[in-house]
Amino acid sequence: MSSLAEELTHTEEEVVADARPEELRLLEALLFAAGEPLDEKTLAARLPSGTDVRAALRRLQTEYAPRGVNLVRVGNKWTFRTANDLAWLLTHEAIQPKKLSRAALETLAIVAYHQPVTRAEIEEIRGVTAAKGTLDVLLEVGWIRPRGRRKAPGRPITYATNEAFLSHFGLETLLDLPGLDELKGAGLFDGTLPAGFSVPAPSDDPALREDEDPLEEGDLDIGLAPRPTLED
Protein backbone atom coordinates (compact mmCIF):
# COMPACT_ATOMS: atom_id res chain seq x y z
CA MET A 1 0.00 0.00 0.00
CA SER A 2 1.33 3.38 -0.89
CA SER A 3 1.73 5.91 1.83
CA LEU A 4 -1.20 8.14 2.53
CA ALA A 5 0.66 11.34 1.70
CA GLU A 6 1.62 10.00 -1.68
CA GLU A 7 -1.84 8.82 -2.33
CA LEU A 8 -3.35 12.19 -1.70
CA THR A 9 -1.10 13.77 -4.25
CA HIS A 10 -2.12 11.20 -6.80
CA THR A 11 -4.80 12.05 -9.25
CA GLU A 12 -8.19 10.83 -8.20
CA GLU A 13 -8.40 8.32 -10.97
CA GLU A 14 -5.70 6.24 -9.42
CA VAL A 15 -7.45 5.86 -6.11
CA VAL A 16 -9.64 2.83 -6.00
CA ALA A 17 -11.59 1.46 -3.10
CA ASP A 18 -9.28 -1.49 -2.59
CA ALA A 19 -6.41 0.87 -2.06
CA ARG A 20 -8.13 2.58 0.83
CA PRO A 21 -5.42 2.88 3.43
CA GLU A 22 -5.80 0.82 6.55
CA GLU A 23 -5.42 3.89 8.74
CA LEU A 24 -8.75 5.15 7.50
CA ARG A 25 -10.38 1.97 8.80
CA LEU A 26 -8.65 2.42 12.11
CA LEU A 27 -9.57 6.07 12.33
CA GLU A 28 -13.21 5.49 11.61
CA ALA A 29 -13.39 2.69 14.15
CA LEU A 30 -11.69 4.82 16.80
CA LEU A 31 -13.92 7.80 16.20
CA PHE A 32 -17.04 5.67 15.99
CA ALA A 33 -16.45 3.84 19.25
CA ALA A 34 -15.24 6.85 21.21
CA GLY A 35 -17.61 8.21 23.79
CA GLU A 36 -16.45 11.76 23.10
CA PRO A 37 -14.68 13.74 20.40
CA LEU A 38 -10.99 12.88 20.18
CA ASP A 39 -8.12 15.24 19.50
CA GLU A 40 -5.37 14.51 17.05
CA LYS A 41 -2.89 13.75 19.76
CA THR A 42 -5.07 11.04 21.23
CA LEU A 43 -5.72 9.59 17.80
CA ALA A 44 -2.03 9.61 16.97
CA ALA A 45 -1.26 7.76 20.20
CA ARG A 46 -3.69 4.99 19.28
CA LEU A 47 -2.78 4.66 15.63
CA PRO A 48 0.32 2.91 14.37
CA SER A 49 3.30 5.21 14.78
CA GLY A 50 4.15 7.24 11.75
CA THR A 51 0.53 7.71 10.69
CA ASP A 52 -0.13 11.15 9.28
CA VAL A 53 -3.21 11.71 11.39
CA ARG A 54 -4.02 15.11 10.01
CA ALA A 55 -3.97 13.90 6.42
CA ALA A 56 -6.01 10.81 7.26
CA LEU A 57 -8.61 12.90 9.06
CA ARG A 58 -8.91 15.23 6.11
CA ARG A 59 -9.39 12.36 3.77
CA LEU A 60 -11.95 10.70 6.00
CA GLN A 61 -13.77 14.00 6.26
CA THR A 62 -13.90 14.26 2.50
CA GLU A 63 -15.10 10.69 2.20
CA TYR A 64 -17.93 11.20 4.64
CA ALA A 65 -18.91 14.67 3.46
CA PRO A 66 -21.64 13.50 1.07
CA ARG A 67 -22.90 10.86 3.52
CA GLY A 68 -25.59 10.86 6.15
CA VAL A 69 -22.88 10.96 8.79
CA ASN A 70 -20.09 13.52 8.63
CA LEU A 71 -16.74 13.78 10.28
CA VAL A 72 -16.69 17.14 12.00
CA ARG A 73 -14.21 19.08 14.03
CA VAL A 74 -15.41 20.41 17.34
CA GLY A 75 -12.80 22.76 18.70
CA ASN A 76 -9.65 20.80 18.10
CA LYS A 77 -11.36 17.44 18.41
CA TRP A 78 -12.96 15.18 15.87
CA THR A 79 -16.19 13.25 15.94
CA PHE A 80 -18.85 11.74 13.71
CA ARG A 81 -22.13 13.60 13.60
CA THR A 82 -25.35 13.22 11.70
CA ALA A 83 -25.28 15.47 8.65
CA ASN A 84 -26.77 18.84 9.43
CA ASP A 85 -29.48 18.58 6.84
CA LEU A 86 -30.76 15.37 8.40
CA ALA A 87 -31.50 16.71 11.86
CA TRP A 88 -35.18 16.26 11.11
CA LEU A 89 -34.59 12.57 10.80
CA LEU A 90 -33.60 12.34 14.44
CA THR A 91 -36.67 14.10 15.59
CA HIS A 92 -39.68 12.06 16.29
CA GLU A 93 -42.98 13.67 16.88
CA ALA A 94 -45.20 11.83 19.22
CA ILE A 95 -48.81 12.83 19.34
CA GLN A 96 -49.90 13.20 22.91
CA PRO A 97 -53.62 13.53 23.35
CA LYS A 98 -54.44 16.11 25.96
CA LYS A 99 -57.61 17.53 27.39
CA LEU A 100 -58.03 21.21 28.00
CA SER A 101 -58.70 22.06 31.62
CA ARG A 102 -62.12 23.37 32.41
CA ALA A 103 -60.68 26.78 33.20
CA ALA A 104 -58.92 26.88 29.83
CA LEU A 105 -62.07 25.80 28.05
CA GLU A 106 -64.12 28.48 29.78
CA THR A 107 -61.58 31.16 29.05
CA LEU A 108 -61.39 30.05 25.44
CA ALA A 109 -65.16 30.24 25.16
CA ILE A 110 -65.17 33.75 26.57
CA VAL A 111 -62.43 34.84 24.20
CA ALA A 112 -64.43 33.31 21.36
CA TYR A 113 -67.67 35.10 22.16
CA HIS A 114 -66.35 38.33 23.58
CA GLN A 115 -63.37 38.97 21.37
CA PRO A 116 -61.55 41.25 21.28
CA VAL A 117 -61.33 40.93 25.01
CA THR A 118 -58.76 41.83 27.62
CA ARG A 119 -57.60 39.68 30.46
CA ALA A 120 -59.36 41.93 32.97
CA GLU A 121 -62.59 41.58 31.04
CA ILE A 122 -62.26 37.81 31.01
CA GLU A 123 -61.69 37.83 34.73
CA GLU A 124 -64.71 40.04 35.22
CA ILE A 125 -66.92 37.70 33.24
CA ARG A 126 -65.57 34.58 34.90
CA GLY A 127 -65.50 36.15 38.34
CA VAL A 128 -62.01 34.82 39.01
CA THR A 129 -58.72 36.60 38.81
CA ALA A 130 -56.47 33.91 37.47
CA ALA A 131 -56.86 34.28 33.74
CA LYS A 132 -53.16 34.71 33.00
CA GLY A 133 -52.23 31.06 33.34
CA THR A 134 -55.12 29.87 31.22
CA LEU A 135 -54.45 32.53 28.58
CA ASP A 136 -50.88 31.29 28.40
CA VAL A 137 -52.13 27.75 27.96
CA LEU A 138 -54.43 28.84 25.16
CA LEU A 139 -51.67 30.81 23.48
CA GLU A 140 -49.52 27.72 23.61
CA VAL A 141 -52.27 25.50 22.32
CA GLY A 142 -52.42 28.03 19.53
CA TRP A 143 -56.10 28.81 19.40
CA ILE A 144 -55.97 32.44 20.49
CA ARG A 145 -53.73 35.33 19.62
CA PRO A 146 -53.08 38.77 21.00
CA ARG A 147 -54.52 41.17 18.49
CA GLY A 148 -54.15 44.68 19.85
CA ARG A 149 -54.14 46.89 22.88
CA ARG A 150 -57.20 48.45 24.37
CA LYS A 151 -57.21 52.22 24.49
CA ALA A 152 -57.65 52.30 28.23
CA PRO A 153 -55.52 52.83 31.30
CA GLY A 154 -52.71 50.28 31.26
CA ARG A 155 -53.33 49.65 27.57
CA PRO A 156 -54.15 45.99 28.15
CA ILE A 157 -53.71 43.48 25.36
CA THR A 158 -56.84 42.32 23.60
CA TYR A 159 -57.17 38.68 22.65
CA ALA A 160 -59.00 37.01 19.81
CA THR A 161 -59.30 33.52 18.42
CA ASN A 162 -57.45 32.55 15.27
CA GLU A 163 -57.68 30.34 12.22
CA ALA A 164 -56.52 27.28 14.12
CA PHE A 165 -59.41 27.78 16.49
CA LEU A 166 -61.95 27.89 13.68
CA SER A 167 -60.33 24.92 12.07
CA HIS A 168 -60.28 22.81 15.21
CA PHE A 169 -63.91 23.46 16.04
CA GLY A 170 -65.06 23.14 12.47
CA LEU A 171 -66.28 26.70 12.17
CA GLU A 172 -66.11 28.61 8.95
CA THR A 173 -66.34 31.96 10.62
CA LEU A 174 -67.05 33.21 14.10
CA LEU A 175 -70.56 33.94 12.95
CA ASP A 176 -71.10 30.19 13.06
CA LEU A 177 -70.88 30.31 16.84
CA PRO A 178 -74.43 29.78 18.06
CA GLY A 179 -76.23 32.76 19.56
CA LEU A 180 -78.24 32.91 22.74
CA ASP A 181 -81.40 31.48 21.24
CA GLU A 182 -79.56 28.56 19.76
CA LEU A 183 -77.72 27.94 23.00
CA LYS A 184 -81.01 27.99 24.83
CA GLY A 185 -82.50 25.77 22.21
CA ALA A 186 -79.69 23.31 22.76
CA GLY A 187 -80.60 23.25 26.41
CA LEU A 188 -77.34 24.80 27.46
CA PHE A 189 -79.07 27.60 29.32
CA ASP A 190 -81.84 26.64 31.67
CA GLY A 191 -84.07 29.62 31.13
CA THR A 192 -83.65 31.49 34.39
CA LEU A 193 -81.49 34.15 32.86
CA PRO A 194 -81.83 37.70 34.06
CA ALA A 195 -83.51 40.13 31.76
CA GLY A 196 -81.14 41.82 29.45
CA PHE A 197 -78.80 38.85 29.43
CA SER A 198 -77.12 38.68 26.09
CA VAL A 199 -74.52 36.74 24.22
CA PRO A 200 -72.35 38.83 21.96
CA ALA A 201 -72.03 38.03 18.29
CA PRO A 202 -68.30 38.07 17.66
CA SER A 203 -66.86 39.18 14.38
CA ASP A 204 -63.99 37.91 12.31
CA ASP A 205 -63.15 41.38 11.12
CA PRO A 206 -59.40 41.68 11.60
CA ALA A 207 -59.59 45.46 11.57
CA LEU A 208 -58.92 46.93 14.97
CA ARG A 209 -61.85 48.46 16.80
CA GLU A 210 -62.04 52.10 17.65
CA ASP A 211 -60.95 51.35 21.18
CA GLU A 212 -57.99 49.25 20.07
CA ASP A 213 -54.44 50.18 19.17
CA PRO A 214 -52.22 47.84 17.19
CA LEU A 215 -49.79 45.58 19.01
CA GLU A 216 -46.39 47.08 19.43
CA GLU A 217 -43.09 45.64 18.50
CA GLY A 218 -42.04 43.35 21.29
CA ASP A 219 -45.57 42.41 22.31
CA LEU A 220 -45.09 39.09 20.59
CA ASP A 221 -41.83 38.37 22.35
CA ILE A 222 -42.92 38.64 25.91
CA GLY A 223 -43.94 35.08 26.36
CA LEU A 224 -47.55 35.88 25.90
CA ALA A 225 -47.20 35.06 22.30
CA PRO A 226 -47.67 31.66 20.73
CA ARG A 227 -44.76 29.96 19.04
CA PRO A 228 -44.87 31.20 15.51
CA THR A 229 -45.00 27.62 14.28
CA LEU A 230 -48.15 26.69 16.07
CA GLU A 231 -50.24 29.09 14.15
CA ASP A 232 -50.68 28.12 10.60
Binding site: A29, F32, A33, A34, G35, E36, T79, F80, R81, T82, L90, T91, H92, E93, A94, I95, Q96, P97, K98, K99, L100, R102, L105, E106, L108, A109, I110, A112, Y113, I125, R126, G127, V141, W143, H168, F169, G170, L171, L177, P178, L183, A186, L188, F189, D190, T192, L193, P194, A195, G196, F197, V199
Partner: protein, 271 residues
Protein backbone atom coordinates in the same frame (compact mmCIF):
# COMPACT_ATOMS: atom_id res chain seq x y z
CA UNK B 1 -17.75 -21.79 42.46
CA UNK B 2 -19.17 -25.03 41.21
CA UNK B 3 -22.53 -26.53 41.00
CA UNK B 4 -21.38 -29.62 42.74
CA UNK B 5 -20.28 -28.14 45.95
CA UNK B 6 -23.15 -29.36 47.99
CA UNK B 7 -22.46 -30.69 51.41
CA UNK B 8 -24.77 -33.61 51.07
CA UNK B 9 -23.73 -37.15 51.62
CA UNK B 10 -25.65 -40.23 50.88
CA UNK B 11 -25.02 -43.95 51.06
CA UNK B 12 -21.34 -43.24 50.95
CA UNK B 13 -21.53 -41.27 54.15
CA UNK B 14 -18.25 -40.41 55.73
CA UNK B 15 -16.84 -42.39 58.58
CA UNK B 16 -19.08 -41.76 61.56
CA UNK B 17 -16.02 -41.69 63.79
CA UNK B 18 -14.86 -38.55 62.14
CA UNK B 19 -14.77 -35.67 64.54
CA UNK B 20 -17.50 -33.22 63.79
CA UNK B 21 -15.10 -30.32 63.85
CA UNK B 22 -12.80 -31.94 61.35
CA UNK B 23 -12.92 -29.79 58.24
CA UNK B 24 -14.25 -31.44 55.15
CA UNK B 25 -11.54 -31.59 52.54
CA UNK B 26 -13.48 -30.70 49.48
CA UNK B 27 -10.71 -28.94 47.63
CA UNK B 28 -9.95 -31.76 45.26
CA UNK B 29 -13.43 -32.22 43.92
CA UNK B 30 -14.07 -28.55 43.64
CA UNK B 31 -12.17 -28.47 40.42
CA UNK B 32 -14.79 -30.67 38.79
CA UNK B 33 -18.10 -29.67 37.36
CA UNK B 34 -19.85 -32.82 38.44
CA UNK B 35 -19.35 -36.53 37.86
CA UNK B 36 -19.57 -36.33 34.08
CA UNK B 37 -16.85 -33.73 34.14
CA UNK B 38 -14.75 -35.97 36.32
CA UNK B 39 -15.34 -38.86 33.95
CA UNK B 40 -14.37 -36.69 31.01
CA UNK B 41 -11.18 -35.70 32.76
CA UNK B 42 -10.35 -39.30 33.49
CA UNK B 43 -11.15 -40.25 29.92
CA UNK B 44 -8.82 -37.60 28.63
CA UNK B 45 -6.14 -39.10 30.77
CA UNK B 46 -6.62 -42.31 28.80
CA UNK B 47 -5.57 -40.16 25.86
CA UNK B 48 -7.87 -41.92 23.47
CA UNK B 49 -10.71 -40.87 21.28
CA UNK B 50 -13.88 -40.74 23.30
CA UNK B 51 -15.43 -43.06 20.74
CA UNK B 52 -12.94 -45.74 21.54
CA UNK B 53 -12.89 -45.29 25.24
CA UNK B 54 -13.18 -48.25 27.50
CA UNK B 55 -16.13 -47.59 29.70
CA UNK B 56 -15.08 -50.44 31.93
CA UNK B 57 -11.65 -48.93 32.50
CA UNK B 58 -13.23 -45.55 33.03
CA UNK B 59 -15.62 -46.95 35.60
CA UNK B 60 -12.70 -48.50 37.44
CA UNK B 61 -10.83 -45.24 37.52
CA UNK B 62 -13.86 -43.33 38.68
CA UNK B 63 -14.57 -45.81 41.45
CA UNK B 64 -10.95 -45.72 42.50
CA UNK B 65 -11.09 -41.95 42.66
CA UNK B 66 -14.18 -42.06 44.83
CA UNK B 67 -12.61 -44.69 47.08
CA UNK B 68 -9.62 -42.47 47.52
CA UNK B 69 -11.77 -39.49 48.27
CA UNK B 70 -13.66 -41.45 50.90
CA UNK B 71 -10.44 -42.68 52.41
CA UNK B 72 -9.34 -39.06 52.71
CA UNK B 73 -12.76 -38.25 54.14
CA UNK B 74 -13.44 -35.81 51.37
CA UNK B 75 -16.99 -34.71 51.35
CA UNK B 76 -18.56 -35.58 48.02
CA UNK B 77 -21.68 -34.15 46.52
CA UNK B 78 -24.55 -36.53 45.98
CA UNK B 79 -24.13 -36.36 42.21
CA UNK B 80 -20.72 -38.02 42.45
CA UNK B 81 -21.95 -40.74 44.69
CA UNK B 82 -24.97 -41.54 42.57
CA UNK B 83 -22.70 -41.85 39.58
CA UNK B 84 -20.37 -44.11 41.56
CA UNK B 85 -23.26 -46.39 42.43
CA UNK B 86 -24.40 -46.47 38.85
CA UNK B 87 -20.90 -47.19 37.54
CA UNK B 88 -20.45 -49.98 40.07
CA UNK B 89 -23.69 -51.49 38.77
CA UNK B 90 -22.62 -51.02 35.15
CA UNK B 91 -19.27 -52.58 35.88
CA UNK B 92 -20.87 -55.67 37.36
CA UNK B 93 -23.17 -55.92 34.34
CA UNK B 94 -20.24 -55.60 31.96
CA UNK B 95 -18.23 -58.27 33.75
CA UNK B 96 -21.01 -60.80 33.99
CA UNK B 97 -22.34 -62.63 30.98
CA UNK B 98 -25.71 -61.34 29.85
CA UNK B 99 -28.40 -63.63 31.20
CA UNK B 100 -30.25 -65.27 28.33
CA UNK B 101 -33.58 -63.66 27.50
CA UNK B 102 -32.76 -60.57 29.51
CA UNK B 103 -35.17 -57.77 29.08
CA UNK B 104 -34.22 -54.13 28.94
CA UNK B 105 -31.03 -52.60 27.76
CA UNK B 106 -27.92 -54.64 27.54
CA UNK B 107 -24.82 -53.66 29.47
CA UNK B 108 -23.27 -52.60 26.17
CA UNK B 109 -26.21 -50.30 25.49
CA UNK B 110 -25.77 -48.69 28.88
CA UNK B 111 -22.07 -48.25 28.30
CA UNK B 112 -22.74 -46.71 24.91
CA UNK B 113 -25.27 -44.35 26.40
CA UNK B 114 -22.70 -43.19 28.92
CA UNK B 115 -20.11 -42.73 26.20
CA UNK B 116 -22.61 -40.69 24.24
CA UNK B 117 -23.34 -38.50 27.21
CA UNK B 118 -19.66 -37.84 27.60
CA UNK B 119 -19.33 -37.01 23.94
CA UNK B 120 -22.29 -34.69 24.14
CA UNK B 121 -20.88 -32.84 27.12
CA UNK B 122 -17.57 -32.57 25.38
CA UNK B 123 -19.27 -31.20 22.30
CA UNK B 124 -21.22 -28.61 24.26
CA UNK B 125 -18.01 -27.54 25.93
CA UNK B 126 -16.35 -27.09 22.60
CA UNK B 127 -19.33 -25.08 21.47
CA UNK B 128 -19.19 -22.92 24.58
CA UNK B 129 -15.53 -22.31 23.97
CA UNK B 130 -16.10 -21.34 20.37
CA UNK B 131 -18.94 -19.11 21.39
CA UNK B 132 -16.72 -17.19 23.78
CA UNK B 133 -14.06 -16.94 21.11
CA UNK B 134 -16.41 -14.98 18.93
CA UNK B 135 -16.00 -11.23 18.88
CA UNK B 136 -18.06 -10.02 21.81
CA UNK B 137 -19.81 -6.73 22.10
CA UNK B 138 -18.03 -4.39 24.46
CA UNK B 139 -14.93 -6.57 24.45
CA UNK B 140 -13.96 -6.89 20.81
CA UNK B 141 -16.50 -4.95 18.85
CA UNK B 142 -18.15 -1.73 19.85
CA UNK B 143 -21.30 0.17 19.31
CA UNK B 144 -21.35 3.86 18.60
CA UNK B 145 -19.68 5.45 21.59
CA UNK B 146 -21.66 8.61 21.42
CA UNK B 147 -25.09 7.86 20.08
CA UNK B 148 -27.23 10.77 19.06
CA UNK B 149 -30.58 10.15 20.59
CA UNK B 150 -33.79 10.60 18.73
CA UNK B 151 -35.46 13.69 20.02
CA UNK B 152 -38.93 12.80 20.95
CA UNK B 153 -41.04 15.86 20.53
CA UNK B 154 -44.29 15.36 22.28
CA UNK B 155 -46.81 17.29 20.33
CA UNK B 156 -49.96 17.61 22.36
CA UNK B 157 -53.12 17.01 20.50
CA UNK B 158 -55.79 18.95 22.27
CA UNK B 159 -59.15 17.42 22.31
CA UNK B 160 -62.08 19.72 22.84
CA UNK B 161 -65.30 19.64 20.93
CA UNK B 162 -67.51 22.52 20.00
CA UNK B 163 -70.03 21.08 22.40
CA UNK B 164 -67.46 21.23 25.22
CA UNK B 165 -66.78 24.81 24.31
CA UNK B 166 -70.40 25.89 24.20
CA UNK B 167 -71.24 24.04 27.38
CA UNK B 168 -68.36 25.73 29.15
CA UNK B 169 -69.49 29.09 27.87
CA UNK B 170 -73.11 28.64 28.82
CA UNK B 171 -72.26 27.30 32.27
CA UNK B 172 -69.90 30.12 32.89
CA UNK B 173 -72.27 32.85 31.76
CA UNK B 174 -75.21 31.35 33.54
CA UNK B 175 -73.33 30.98 36.79
CA UNK B 176 -72.11 34.53 36.73
CA UNK B 177 -75.27 36.02 35.37
CA UNK B 178 -76.73 35.22 38.78
CA UNK B 179 -73.58 35.78 40.72
CA UNK B 180 -73.11 39.15 39.13
CA UNK B 181 -76.31 40.51 40.60
CA UNK B 182 -74.91 39.89 44.03
CA UNK B 183 -71.51 41.06 43.05
CA UNK B 184 -72.56 44.37 41.52
CA UNK B 185 -75.21 45.06 44.13
CA UNK B 186 -72.30 45.86 46.35
CA UNK B 187 -71.56 48.68 43.97
CA UNK B 188 -74.51 50.49 45.45
CA UNK B 189 -76.12 53.59 44.31
CA UNK B 190 -75.91 55.46 47.54
CA UNK B 191 -78.95 57.00 49.15
CA UNK B 192 -77.43 60.43 48.79
CA UNK B 193 -76.90 59.86 45.08
CA UNK B 194 -80.42 58.55 44.74
CA UNK B 195 -81.87 61.50 46.54
CA UNK B 196 -79.90 64.04 44.54
CA UNK B 197 -81.00 62.36 41.36
CA UNK B 198 -84.62 62.20 42.39
CA UNK B 199 -84.63 65.81 43.36
CA UNK B 200 -83.31 66.69 39.95
CA UNK B 201 -85.81 64.43 38.22
CA UNK B 202 -88.75 65.71 40.15
CA UNK B 203 -87.99 69.19 38.99
CA UNK B 204 -89.06 68.00 35.58
CA UNK B 205 -92.07 65.83 36.43
CA UNK B 206 -95.09 67.29 38.12
CA UNK B 207 -97.53 64.48 37.34
CA UNK B 208 -97.53 60.91 38.62
CA UNK B 209 -94.56 59.12 37.13
CA UNK B 210 -93.37 55.56 37.48
CA UNK B 211 -90.10 55.72 39.31
CA UNK B 212 -88.62 53.08 37.03
CA UNK B 213 -88.95 55.26 34.01
CA UNK B 214 -86.80 57.95 35.48
CA UNK B 215 -84.23 55.53 36.55
CA UNK B 216 -84.00 53.43 33.46
CA UNK B 217 -83.48 56.59 31.50
CA UNK B 218 -80.69 57.45 33.83
CA UNK B 219 -79.05 54.17 34.64
CA UNK B 220 -78.10 52.28 31.52
CA UNK B 221 -76.13 49.57 33.21
CA UNK B 222 -78.74 46.88 33.77
CA UNK B 223 -76.83 45.29 36.59
CA UNK B 224 -77.23 48.43 38.66
CA UNK B 225 -80.93 48.25 38.36
CA UNK B 226 -81.78 46.64 41.65
CA UNK B 227 -79.43 48.86 43.59
CA UNK B 228 -80.88 51.90 41.90
CA UNK B 229 -84.38 50.74 42.64
CA UNK B 230 -83.63 50.06 46.25
CA UNK B 231 -81.81 53.28 46.90
CA UNK B 232 -84.25 55.43 45.04
CA UNK B 233 -87.20 53.85 46.78
CA UNK B 234 -85.57 54.54 50.11
CA UNK B 235 -84.84 58.10 49.01
CA UNK B 236 -88.39 58.49 47.81
CA UNK B 237 -89.78 57.34 51.13
CA UNK B 238 -87.49 59.70 52.93
CA UNK B 239 -88.50 62.60 50.72
CA UNK B 240 -92.14 61.71 51.13
CA UNK B 241 -91.72 61.69 54.88
CA UNK B 242 -90.21 65.15 54.58
CA UNK B 243 -93.25 66.13 52.53
CA UNK B 244 -91.41 66.84 49.31
CA UNK B 245 -93.24 64.30 47.17
CA UNK B 246 -96.16 61.93 47.00
CA UNK B 247 -96.02 58.20 46.35
CA UNK B 248 -98.66 56.01 44.84
CA UNK B 249 -98.68 52.29 44.23
CA UNK B 250 -101.68 50.31 43.04
CA UNK B 251 -100.69 47.00 44.56
CA UNK B 252 -97.76 45.24 46.04
CA UNK B 253 -94.95 44.91 43.46
CA UNK B 254 -96.82 47.18 41.08
CA UNK B 255 -94.95 50.18 39.71
CA UNK B 256 -94.36 52.94 42.19
CA UNK B 257 -95.57 56.35 41.06
CA UNK B 258 -94.28 59.58 42.50
CA UNK B 259 -94.97 63.21 41.96
CA UNK B 260 -93.68 66.45 43.32
CA UNK B 261 -95.83 67.65 46.06
CA UNK B 262 -97.37 70.95 45.09
CA UNK B 263 -98.49 71.90 48.58
CA UNK B 264 -95.99 70.95 51.18
CA UNK B 265 -97.41 69.23 54.22
CA UNK B 266 -100.57 67.75 52.68
CA UNK B 267 -98.99 64.65 51.13
CA UNK B 268 -99.51 61.05 52.08
CA UNK B 269 -98.27 57.76 50.98
CA UNK B 270 -100.41 55.02 49.71
CA UNK B 271 -98.75 51.69 49.67
Amino acid sequence: MTDTHAAQTTAFAPDPERASDEPALIVDVEGFEGPLDLLLRLAREQKVDLAKISILALADQYLAFIEEARRLRLELAADYLVMAAWLAYLKSRLLLPEPPGAIGESAADLANALALRLKRLEAIRTAAKRLTERPQLGRDVFERGEPEPINEIKRPQWSATLYDLLTAYANERQKHALARVRLTSRKVWSLAEARATLERLLQMATDWTAIDQYLIAYVVEPSMRSSVLASSLAATLEMAREGQLEIHQDAAFAPVYVRRRSEPGSGGATS
